[in-house]
């Protein structure tokens, strides 16, 4: 792991890759309006099909990887991406946890295929949707559905000058309190996943009077069991607890375990 400090005068080459995903995280890069020109100055955008058809051949200094691995073909392709990338960064809940499509991991995918597709025989799909880190070594992860623009710029800024990126792994509560947001669970009996969810979004939902949906995935040492106890006292049923932990990060281990614990057989 480390930066991508370049010999003077040479710009680092940036590639953006897509696996099973909705493209929302890649769009975050294009959404960096104020910083986009500066970024284009600082790096050579070498491979980014979402933005440009022009392709500069690898290897690449920084690869941003969006999406999860869901097909045998992608399970091969990610190794090729890794081989071409000096620093590989996974972006978003799909790439870091398997995404919303990992809901199928709790069911039999063959059944879905037989119901959804006219000719199931043409569909080649893996039984589970898995994060990139299950397949190759990942240098950095950016959480979220979608990722935070601020964190993306922070990470790129850090890589470009070879410093440690500030990507905290603590709870959303810390961001809420720093912003002076009054706790929704305590003051309004509102179920909120903030205490078990990793910071990074800047407490977007609590700031708009909505409980946290957990889209940044489990924080460091999450106590999901205690979280469920609190939700239960707020009147949340076990079925709804399962649903709450089965969001964009359903297959992140702590959330997977907690949702399964409340599953009605």
């Amino acid at each position: 792991m480390g930066g991508v400090t370049m010999p003077s005068g040479k710009k680092p080459k940036l590639a953006v890759w897509k696996f099973a995903s909705c493209d929302g995280c890649q769009l975050t890069l294009l959404d960096c309006e104020d910083e986009l020109l500066a970024l284009a100055e600082a790096v050579e955008i070498a491979y980014f099909p979402e933005a440009s058809r022009a392709v500069v051949k690898g290897p690449y200094d920084i690869s941003l990887v969006e999406g999860s691995i869901t097909t045998p073909h992608d399970a091969e392709r990610i190794h090729a991406v890794r081989r071409m990338s000096k620093c590989l960064v996974t972006i978003g809940a799909c790439a870091t946890a398997g995404g919303i499509q990992a809901l199928r991991n709790f069911k039999d995918v063959k059944e879905f295929v037989s119901v959804v597709y006219a000719t199931p025989a043409y569909i080649e799909v893996l039984a589970k949707s898995t994060p990139i880190a299950d397949h190759v070594f990942v240098d950095y992860e950016l959480r979220g559905c979608p990722i935070s623009k601020v964190q993306l710029i922070e990470l790129l800024g850090a890589l470009l000058c070879g410093r440690k990126p500030n990507i905290p792994t603590y709870s959303v509560c810390i961001e809420c309190k720093r912003r002076g947001i009054v706790c929704l669970t305590v003051a309004k009996d509102m179920p909120c996943l903030g205490p078990v969810t990793q910071a990074g979004c800047g407490a977007v939902c609590p700031g708009l009077d909505r409980g946290c949906y957990g889209c940044f995935g489990p924080k460091e040492t999450p106590n999901t069991n205690s979280m469920s106890t609190i939700w239960a006292t707020l009147g949340v049923s076990r079925a709804d607890l399962t649903r709450a932990f089965r969001g964009f990060n359903a297959y992140a281990e702590p959330f997977r375990r907690e949702s399964t614990a409340h599953e009605q057989k």
Binding site: E35, A42, Y170, V186, A187, N223
Partner: protein
């Protein structure tokens, strides 16, 4: 507890409710930024006030472990609530502070520290527990050879309007910590609000010359003995109405003896390590610094942010975090507040405001946790004696 500033108490006076806004107007005229309680989105929080009209007249709250609920009072008391969710720390020790910024130039780089304050602050409605908290932070951040410049700049010249506590909340235990319900130091003016069927007035005492000067600008008259008695009675009642109690006898030694108590495992089962307790604590002062650069590499900044001993990064050194388990982190925090703080700074680190109890989503109660440890120990010694 050390006394902050000179404490010249002049005669105690009475300000009628109708005249009270003029006190805030006088502060405003003296160019203070008014910071005080205000009803915002379901809670009474400390924010900038335009004047007395924004005070939460007639509002109060119920506070219990993990529960805060606003409610209407039967009267129109201006300070009839207990304490807000966030302490005054947010104004004097801000959650995020840019320490310096650097910009590349032809020769190297220009360094600049952003100005810390534009306007002097008046804190309105500071409870005695929070006065103690400010004094504790004066000791931690404002004294010795390494004063914190941010604290020093924001703290300097702050006008403190204390309001004695006649409505302790369900999670309060200032009487146990000897920090309330009556303000004894650290204020420019201290008020006791008295609301009766026919009358609504404030008993006011100046603690400083500045305070006296502000009282001079507000219509007032000397307090009558019956008015003083009424205020005293309210405060005596308040002391007996604390929602929580904590026996502080030999507390430091109790905690040092019980470093391996099974209760720490029990609390770790409930603790979310979300850090809410430390964020709302009026004396938790820990911060981290983040060094940032932009994508151009031409601008850099060092930003200080509130941190918490409940995070893994807090105790991370070469090889990993020292306090990896939640048990170790909770024990560290509680032991600091009630034991090691005494060794370090000469007082408890807790003022009994109850915020950590109310704002813990899991409703973990420090007084209950300590009580459980004390109880098992005394049960054990009783057993051994018999």
């Amino acid at each position: 507890m050390s006394v902050t500033g000179a404490n010249r108490v002049s005669a105690t006076v009475v300000i009628e409710r109708a005249a009270f806004p003029q006190l805030l107007d006088a502060l405003k005229t003296a160019r203070y930024k008014l910071l005080g309680p205000k009803l915002v989105n379901g809670a009474i929080v400390y924010e900038e006030l335009a004047g007395a009209g924004e005070l939460p007249a007639g509002w109060a709250e119920d506070q219990m472990p993990g529960v805060y609920k606003l409610k209407r009072r039967i009267d129109e008391a201006l300070f009839g609530y207990t304490v807000g969710p966030h302490s005054w720390k947010k104004f004097l020790h801000p959650a995020v502070a840019v320490l310096w910024q650097a910009t590349k130039n032809a020769k190297g780089f220009d360094l600049a520290a952003p100005p810390i304050r534009a306007q002097k602050l008046a804190l309105l409605g500071v409870r005695p527990c929070d006065l103690h908290a400010i004094s504790i932070l004066d000791t931690v951040l404002g004294r010795g050879p390494y004063k914190d410049p941010v604290w020093a700049a924001l703290r300097k010249g702050v006008f403190v309007l204390a309001v004695n506590c006649v409505e302790p909340g369900g999670t309060c235990f200032c009487a146990s910590m000897n920090t309330g319900p009556r303000a004894s130091f650290g204020f420019d003016i201290a008020l006791t609000e008295v609301v009766e069927a026919e009358r609504h007035f404030f008993v006011a005492t100046a603690g400083t010359e500045r305070g006296s000067a502000m009282l001079e600008k507000t219509p007032h008259r000397p307090a009558r003995p019956d008015e003083l008695d009424r205020a005293d009675q309210l405060l005596a009642n308040a002391a007996s109405k604390m929602g929580r109690k904590l026996d502080t006898t030999g507390l430091k030694e109790l905690l040092y003896r019980n470093h391996e108590h099974p209760r720490w495992d029990n609390v770790a089962g409930r603790c979310l390590s979300c850090a809410s307790c430390t964020m709302v604590c009026p004396t938790c002062f820990c911060t981290t610094v983040e060094d940032t650069t932009d994508v151009t590499g031409r601008h850099a900044a060092r930003v200080r942010k509130w941190d918490s001993c409940f995070t893994l990064a807090f105790s991370f050194i070469h090889g990993g975090p020292i306090r990896a388990s939640v048990r170790a982190r909770y024990r560290h925090w509680l032991t600091h507040k009630f034991a090691t703080w005494l060794d370090q700074f000469g007082t408890f680190g807790c003022v009994g405001c109850g915020r950590c109890i109310t704002w813990c989503p899991a409703g973990i109660d420090v007084t209950e946790e300590i009580g459980a440890i004390r109880h098992t120990e005394s049960a054990k010694s009783r057993k051994e004696a018999s």
